[in-house]
Amino acid sequence: MDPRLGTALAVVIGIPAVLVGYIYLTEVVLRFVPERRRAQFRPWLWLLPALLFLGLFLVIPTVLTILRSFQGAVAGAWVGLENYAWFFGTPDALIALRNNLLWVVFLTLFTVGGGLIIAVLVDRVRYETIAKSVIFVPLAISMTAAGVIWRFMFDYQSPGSPQTGTLNGILGAVGLGPISFLQVDTLALNTIFLIIVMAWMWTGFAMVILSAALKGISTELLEAARVDGATEWRVFRFIVFPLLLPTVAVVSTTIVITALKAFDIVYVMTNGNFGTDVIASRMIKESFIFGNFGHGSALAVILLLAIIPVMGLNISRFRAQEAIR
């Protein structure tokens, strides 16, 4: 038997026991606090484990990374904005920024557009559940597995030999030459192909949320419009779409963040070669392959800066929700 099994059992039973024990302990501790101040102390004791984890694994490391981005390859050697100057002055590195822009624009377009169309279409058929599951299921698997699945889609053999990739097989059947999908960097097409893999995974996410919002629209309203002679297109354009717009905005925010953080697909499918690097993959490369934590930290901070506006949107939307709670 695996000796680690004992450790695992101890962890799975021990850690919850410790956490539950901690909460019971807070009441014991609070007995030593004057009664009128207990309600004041109690919430902080309940929040303490969460605040520790958030502080140690998110807040403090982020601050340290920001500081590190102003130091060179050797820690402690302050270099001002040199790492940022390196990034914005190196065309090879800037490709990562361009690719992230492409990811944001096209992933949002593909997933939200596709998700909206599918949500509207499946609403009209009886096999809705099955159709939705088919579109939705790639979200459950790892991006690594998705990368493997799509490597066989994009597979390329030199012209003349039999094509083993699905897409090149289809192209061959209609008499078109094989394309080396992941190596065509004209117009950054290979990045678009990588985005398609991610869209295959995430369209289901957009579809499920938009479909739930669609079900919330009153059928009487739509029927009334139809009775008044509106075509299906006009019903969609002037009633359904405006009512879905807030949800479209919510979904888009999530997808934009996903696009900015894109890493796994690139790492598994091209490892950033052929001009497909994104900021996240370049950051890993600079830090852990080239060993330059200065460059790596600057890239991480650039990623954070790109995400902050979206975070702002998230927060203001959250506050608006709270206001109507």
Binding site: Q40, W46, G147, I209, A212, G229, S287, L299, L304, I307
Partner: protein, 299 residues
């Protein structure tokens, strides 16, 4: 205004909604959906068929040639991937990593969510907004300092590192989801419990926690899938130091990037890694969908 008068004013649209075009538009819906479903299934079917073929077949012809009639299908690659690679131990590693990394954040988040929902303290809303903000912090901004700290403390590469890191990374979403659910529980329940002399600890374990089970189920599925499918965190914290601790995702990624042949192993390896998420997904799809929509659309 009646239907007929509108339709008379808009003859073009009348044609569009006539009986025959409606049949075609219904047919069109089915056709588009059928095509989309095929597009969505095709990549996976291709890999599934290839995972059942020999390496020479995979290299010499497309997977579709093995279908009609079925020929040369074998489970050899599955046997080979289990015998010759570390995928089997990777599966165990993935379990070792995922189960604690799912359980710990649920408990920690439930305490915090209860405090945010049912206790009053100054700065409560501001603190919660800050946690909502942390939802989007890219993990990349945390790797270098944490990795160095783990190294200094001497447990670099241990499972403990990923358990703790995944707990920290998963908490903002976990707190957000649970607090949204706990906060919408009926106030009267807690008020009458307090009047009856229940302590907050009793109210939490006897009332809040049982009533929050649907949200906890959704959260557990999310965190499980997130950790099981994670590549980046394991790659950074385990990858360089303790290769024998690597989960399946990193092992498969290494298999892809090694390029030293072994293409016939990729398919079986990918399907072994997908098995558990797919079971979880199909068994608990309802909770999964509820978690997604609950986080995004309210009411």
């Amino acid at each position: 205004m009646t239907a007929s008068s509108t339709a008379a004013q808009l003859p073009a649209e009348r044609v569009a909604s006539g009986r025959l075009p409606r049949f075609f538009s219904r047919f069109g819906v089915h056709l588009v959906l059928a095509v989309l479903m095929i597009i969505w299934l095709l990549p996976t079917i291709g890999l599934l068929v290839n995972s059942l073929r020999s390496s020479s077949d995979i290299a010499s012809s497309g997977w579709w040639t093995a279908l009609f009639p079925p020929k040369g299908l074998t489970l050899d690659s599955y046997a080979k991937v289990l015998a010759e690679t570390d995928i089997a131990s990777g599966f165990i590693n993935s379990l070792f990593i995922t189960i604690p990394a799912t359980i710990i954040p649920i408990f920690v988040a439930a305490f915090a969510a209860y405090a945010f929902s049912w206790m009053n303290f100054p700065g409560r809303n501001l603190l919660f907004v800050a946690i909502v903000g942390l939802l989007v912090v890219p993990l990349q901004t945390t790797f270098i300092p944490i990795l160095q700290t783990f190294g200094q403390l001497g447990f670099a590469g241990e499972f403990l590192t990923v358990w703790l890191a995944h707990t920290g990374y998963g908490l903002p979403f976990a707190i957000y989801l649970l607090r949204n659910f706990m906060g919408s529980l009926p106030k009267e329940v807690f008020e009458s419990a307090y009047i009856d002399g229940a302590s907050p600890v009793t109210a939490f374990f006897r009332l809040a926690l049982p009533m929050t089970v649907p949200a906890i189920a959704a959260l557990a599925i999310f965190q499980f899938l997130f950790v099981w499918n994670d590549l980046l965190v394991a790659l950074i914290y385990l990858g360089a130091v303790r290769p024998e601790n690597l989960p399946m995702t990193v092992q498969i990624a290494n298999l892809v990037n090694s390029q030293g042949g072994g293409w016939e192993l990729l398919g079986p390896a990918a399907f072994i890694s997908m098995a558990l998420p797919l079971v979880v997904f199909f068994a608990l799809q309802r909770y999964f969908v509820r978690g997604i929509t609950g986080g995004a659309v309210k009411g």
